[in-house]
């Protein structure tokens, strides 16, 4: 692809992405009733989204396209869960999980 078509591609993809982000926010006034009715759904979304965001990255290693289950990553994730239960910040659970992963890789 030549440079001009690449720039066109970036603008088209960028504009489309922005419009997706803007959709409900821009139509806020006319979609307020719909959003109000969807409150029970919206309340369930955070755990659904966060679980779907993190699980594949935890269970599988990702060397390009081959997906393999990585037991050490799963153990590290369990440590993160444990710390997260007692810590309100994201920092310490992540530090604990990474230290666990590095230790397991070094001595496991």
């Amino acid at each position: 692809m030549d440079n001009l078509s690449l720039w066109l591609l970036f603008f088209a993809a960028g504009l489309g992405t922005f419009l997706i982000r803007l959709s409900f926010i821009q139509l806020h006034a006319s979609s307020a009733a719909l959003i109000e009715r969807s409150k029970p759904i919206l309340a369930l979304l955070p755990p659904g989204i966060l679980a779907a965001l993190c699980m594949p990255g935890i269970v599988f290693t990702r060397p390009t396209n081959e997906y393999q289950i990585d037991p050490l990553q799963i153990v590290a994730a369990l440590v993160t869960i444990l710390i997260a239960k007692y810590s309100s910040s994201v920092f310490w659970p992540v530090v604990g999980g990474m230290l666990c992963l590095w230790l397991l890789r070094a001595y496991g």
Binding site: L9, I20, P46, G48, I49, I58, F60, A84, W102
Partner: protein, 235 residues
């Protein structure tokens, strides 16, 4: 006003630990662009216009495969389709703002912003504080993403891959997940969504993600009521 300013800086503070995961991802995005022979201006232009890391990496590989223009655009849009959900979630918060605040904040919505701003502690706050917190998270996230990609362009992906620093991204979302689970229904949603996300991982275009969220939320809406009815019948 003081509490607004404070909320902004709380947002910046809470984003900082996530930079550990953003940095290696950005380095990869920058270095991959260089390896494909793109100029620094193009890579940074693409980064700013997309402002979506996984879509950018997918676009790289499609460009390398000489995929048709329209297929690449569609792929990017399907991968970014999850932003519709974020848009609906933040509409009550960002919708009423003036255009000059609404549009930039909307542009900067990301997974990290959604995760941090939907934690129970934030949801309990006033709308004003929530907007300033969101702005703090979003602006620092955008800056760290742009700087990470620029470093990737300048230095290449110079963090050793064996450190697995990008593993801090799922770990951070996992920690947020634990904090958002405050009752059994939410726990059920998380379990179903997690199982589906793992099962559907190999589906293309991030379809697994959407399927997992839909399955998790539907089960969370329907299953508890079904079980209750059944218990009611027997009891």
């Amino acid at each position: 006003m003081a509490s607004h300013k404070q909320a902004f800086w709380f947002g910046v503070r809470d984003l900082l630990p996530l930079v550990s995961g953003v940095l290696p991802f950005g380095l990869i995005a920058g270095a991959t662009g260089v390896s494909m022979g793109m100029t620094p201006e193009m890579i940074m232009g693409m980064t700013v216009l997309f402002f979506a890391g996984s879509a950018q990496l997918a676009a790289y590989s499609l460009i390398q495969d000489n995929a048709p223009f329209i297929i690449i655009v569609l792929t990017v849009l399907v991968i970014n389709f999850r932003f519709v959900i974020y848009s609906a979630s933040f509409a009550p918060l960002l919708g009423p703002l003036k255009k000059r605040y609404r549009l930039p904040l909307t542009f900067m919505l990301s997974d990290q912003v959604y995760g941090l701003c939907s934690m129970p502690e934030q949801q309990a706050k006033s709308n004003g504080e929530r907007v300033f917190y969101l702005a703090g998270v979003a602006i620092s996230m955008a800056l760290s993403w742009f700087i990470s990609v620029a470093l990737g362009v300048a230095l290449g992906a110079s963090i050793p891959a064996s450190w697995s620093l990008e593993f801090t991204i799922p770990l951070a979302f996992l920690a947020m997940l634990v904090t958002t689970i405050t009752n059994r229904r939410l726990f059920l949603v998380a379990c179903i969504s997690a199982l589906c996300a793992i099962t559907f991982q190999l589906l293309p275009y991030n379809i697994g993600f959407i399927a997992a969220v839909v399955a998790g939320v539907s089960c969370g809406l329907l299953l508890p009521n079904l079980l209750q009815k059944r218990v009611g019948k027997h009891g």
